[in-house]
């Protein structure tokens, strides 16, 4: 789809970003010391910190990624909502209070509280950097996605804009401004998502055969016998002529290429066959053809908005409602699902065909899907394994859900938020506020995603755009507000991640290796330099990983965090036998094994390296192997090094 900027959206957006930056500069005056820069002097009220948790945690993955996945595949995206929230139970019941009690600035503080070890600090610092950078990628990808329809910018321009603004926020004021930006964003995100949900319920459902641009997709019923009649007008197909399949098209018999009756324009159609029936449904598809050195073709015409040019039609509609209704009118919180359960929705799938060395065509085709399938797990290719016969598919699912459960309490940018409140009680209370607001938002994601799925406003090429496009289908001002909030969502989370990275670089890496500790002012200066550096890396990665679903990328970050950090954190809290060597070994083993697993998985080969058949791991998600591996490593190494632990405890040396 071609996005054009709406002036009210641009005005509201810049007002919002301007206010955020202004707030940041104003608050920045108060945070000159390292205690202020890294931990807001521990003076953030617990309620504000709780909402800031939501602002920190509800990232682009939650808002854009989950809504997009639900909009394209149904319930499967909601599995992420469930897993992300469940992780807060670990944070509240196991980690929150000890973190506050043991730490000061970074996640490594808590790990290192018993040993005062240079090695633990280094390992924890590196792990913080690795997890934060992994987590930054989807945020930056999300930023590029958002700015595209809002301001009409290219993806890379959006990433650059977010990177620059975030670096400015972090460099000016550190944790104080980051907290208030996150508080603002967390509150607005939850409030506006609730408004959007109310509008979805009020709008109800309506049977349609096309999206909001009014274009009606055609379906022809044709006898199978005519499908081999090439280059002659076929009345059953509106006089169109079938193009004989050649080259790569021979391997895609599910598609029919038709020439218009009155021109040579080629359009693409999907053959929907029913077993034992002599006729087939020839269903209109959409296509993008990319040719080196020539403009892209959309549905057989040059991409553009002028006369004679074409752009992809927005999609997402219900083809059948229960009791042959045409529309439902407003629906309730429960009837929203029960109606959808008994309806049929047209989803869109895609296939890319490499026609020649310099030409590829991606065909987007309709797949009418029963609502009962949309509202159950297993529709998305990533989760389809649970309905298959392959054991690894089921294990992959368990592995992902384990990583989501264990990942939250291992995310450095979440853990450092415990240092911004005054005591353990405040840490606990702020976590409860966080769970309430985050849980409420995650319930809304199912309404938002399914509302987007049936809004007629979806872009078939980009699932990440579902939530903003849903808002645009309601009202331009709402779209502007939602986009600005989503943009601030990215700002809030990216600020937190960069701050966590900067803290790790300053305290766990630079300060750790100096004979004389850095002064207060030097610590803040090093952190600011590190912020610029990490922000630069995030910008580059955000541009490189443009096409991936952001929620999917966050799943990886959770796996790395859970594998590298959780075993060390839990065992230090609950096992007196843990040694510094055991902790270091667990962090390094968990981090390298999970990273290695991800980089060698078939999914990465396909989606990142562009190699369709490859991969050396039996399934994609590493958590079920690498999290226990971290625990086992810590126990074995601790048992083997028990004497040196006693020695180090007695002498206090690292």
């Amino acid at each position: 789809m071609i996005y054009e900027a709406a002036s009210e959206a641009v005005v509201l957006f810049f007002l919002f970003v301007g206010f955020t930056l202004g707030l940041s500069f104003w608050l920045g005056r108060k945070a000159k010391s390292s205690a202020g820069y890294f931990a807001a002097h521990g003076e953030i009220p617990w309620f504000v910190n709780g909402i800031a948790f939501a602002g920190d945690y509800l990232s682009a993955a939650s808002f854009l990624g989950i809504c997009g996945m639900i909009a394209f595949y149904g319930y499967d995206g909601f599995l992420y909502s469930i897993g992300y929230l469940a992780g807060w139970i670990v944070a509240l019941f196991v980690v929150a209070e000890p973190m506050k009690r043991l730490g000061k600035f970074t996640f490594a503080d808590a790990l290192d509280a018993r040993f005062n070890s240079r090695g633990i600090r280094t390992a924890a610092g590196i792990s913080t950097l690795a997890v934060s950078i992994f987590y930054l990628i989807p945020q930056m990808v999300g930023a590029g996605v958002l700015v595209q329809p809002l301001l009409g910018f290219e993806h890379w321009q959006g990433v650059l804009l977010v990177g620059a603004v975030v670096i400015m926020i972090v460099v000016t004021a550190g944790m104080v401004s980051t907290t208030w930006v996150q508080f603002l964003k967390g509150s607005l995100l939850v409030i506006f998502s609730a408004i959007l949900t109310w509008l979805i319920l009020d709008r109800g459902f309506e049977v349609k055969s096309g999206g909001e641009d009014g274009y009606q997709f055609t379906t022809w019923k044709a006898p199978r016998s005519v499908l081999k009649s090439y280059d002659v007008p076929i009345p059953e197909l509106g006089g169109r002529r079938i193009v004989k399949p050649e080259g790569a098209w021979k391997d895609s018999p599910e598609f029919l290429r038709l020439k218009d009756a009155d021109s040579d324009r080629i359009t693409y159609w999907f053959l929907e066959s029913e077993n034992g029936v002599e006729s087939v449904n020839v269903v209109e598809a959409q296509s993008i053809t990319k040719q080196t050195g020539q403009p892209d073709l959309v549905n057989g015409e040059t991409l553009g908005t002028k006369k004679g040019e074409a752009e992809l039609h927005p999609v997402g509609f219900i083809s059948q409602l229960p009791n042959e209704q045409k529309s439902t009118g407003p629906v309730g919180l429960g009837s929203f699902f029960s109606i959808l359960q008994n309806s049929k929705v047209v989803l869109w799938r895609s296939k890319t065909v490499k026609v020649s060395d310099d030409t590829t065509t991606t065909v987007y085709y309709q797949k009418e899907t029963p609502g009962s399938h949309i509202l159950r797990p297993g529709e998305h290719p990533r989760f389809a394994g649970i309905r298959g016969t392959n054991f690894w598919g089921r294990l992959n699912f368990i592995s992902l859900m384990l990583a989501l459960f264990c990942g939250t309490a291992s995310l450095p940018h979440i853990l450092i938020r415990y240092y911004t409140v005054k005591d353990e009680q405040s840490a606990r209370k702020s976590t409860i506020v966080g769970i309430a607001s985050i849980g409420f938002f995650y319930i809304l994601t199912l309404y938002l995603g399914l509302g987007a799925m049936t809004s007629g406003a979806m872009d078939v090429t980009n699932s990440n755009m579902a939530a903003p496009l849903l808002a645009r289908s309601m009202n331009t001002w709402l779209f502007a507000a939602i986009s600005a909030i989503a943009f601030t969502t990215v700002l809030g989370t990216v600020s937190g991640l960069i701050l966590a990275s900067a803290g790790a670089v300053t305290h766990d890496l630079v300060n750790n290796f100096r004979s004389h500790p850095l002064t207060d002012a030097q610590q803040v200066r090093v952190a600011k330099i590190a912020s610029v550096f990490v922000g630069g890396i995030a910008i580059v990665l955000g541009i490189v990983f443009k096409g991936l679903n952001v929620s999917y990328l966050v799943g990886w970050a959770f796996s790395v965090a859970a594998s590298a950090n959780l075993p060390a954190l839990i065992m230090i809290l609950f096992w007196r036998g843990a040694t510094r060597q055991g902790v270091i070994a667990a962090i390094i083993t968990g981090m390298t094994s999970s990273l290695g697993w991800i980089l060698l998985s078939a999914d990465t080969f396909q989606k990142v390296y562009g190699i369709d058949s490859g991969g050396y791991t039996p399934f994609t998600q590493p958590g079920i192997v690498t999290i226990p591996l971290g625990f086992v490593t810590l126990i074995i190494v601790s048992l083997l090094t028990r004497d040196s632990r006693q020695e180090s405890l007695q002498t206090g040396s690292p």
Partner: protein
């Protein structure tokens, strides 16, 4: 380092862990159960999913209340001991 045990937190954690594990295992082993619509036309996938989110909130409130009581009791005991 001093680690204080937190039996209340660990008990509630185990309660949630059992419910969450049940959800994951049903999906992995017998996903067809998720199609079942036991209540008001809503299937088990939606009911169980919403329940997991709501129970997380309920348990956190219970924990907040009981841990607050525990802290008050500990504080009063400490003050009594000091006198």
């Amino acid at each position: 380092m001093e680690t204080r045990s937190n039996p209340l937190g660990l008990t509630l954690f185990c309660v949630y862990l059992v419910i969450y594990t049940g959800f994951v295992l049903i999906n992995a082993a017998a996903p067809q159960f998720m199609d079942w619509t036991p209540l008001a036309g809503l299937n088990l996938a939606i009911l169980y999913g919403f329940t997991l989110i709501i129970i997380a909130f309920v348990l956190s409130i219970v924990y907040g209340f009981l841990a607050g009581q525990r802290d008050k009791q500990t504080n009063s005991e400490n003050q009594g001991g000091a006198v």
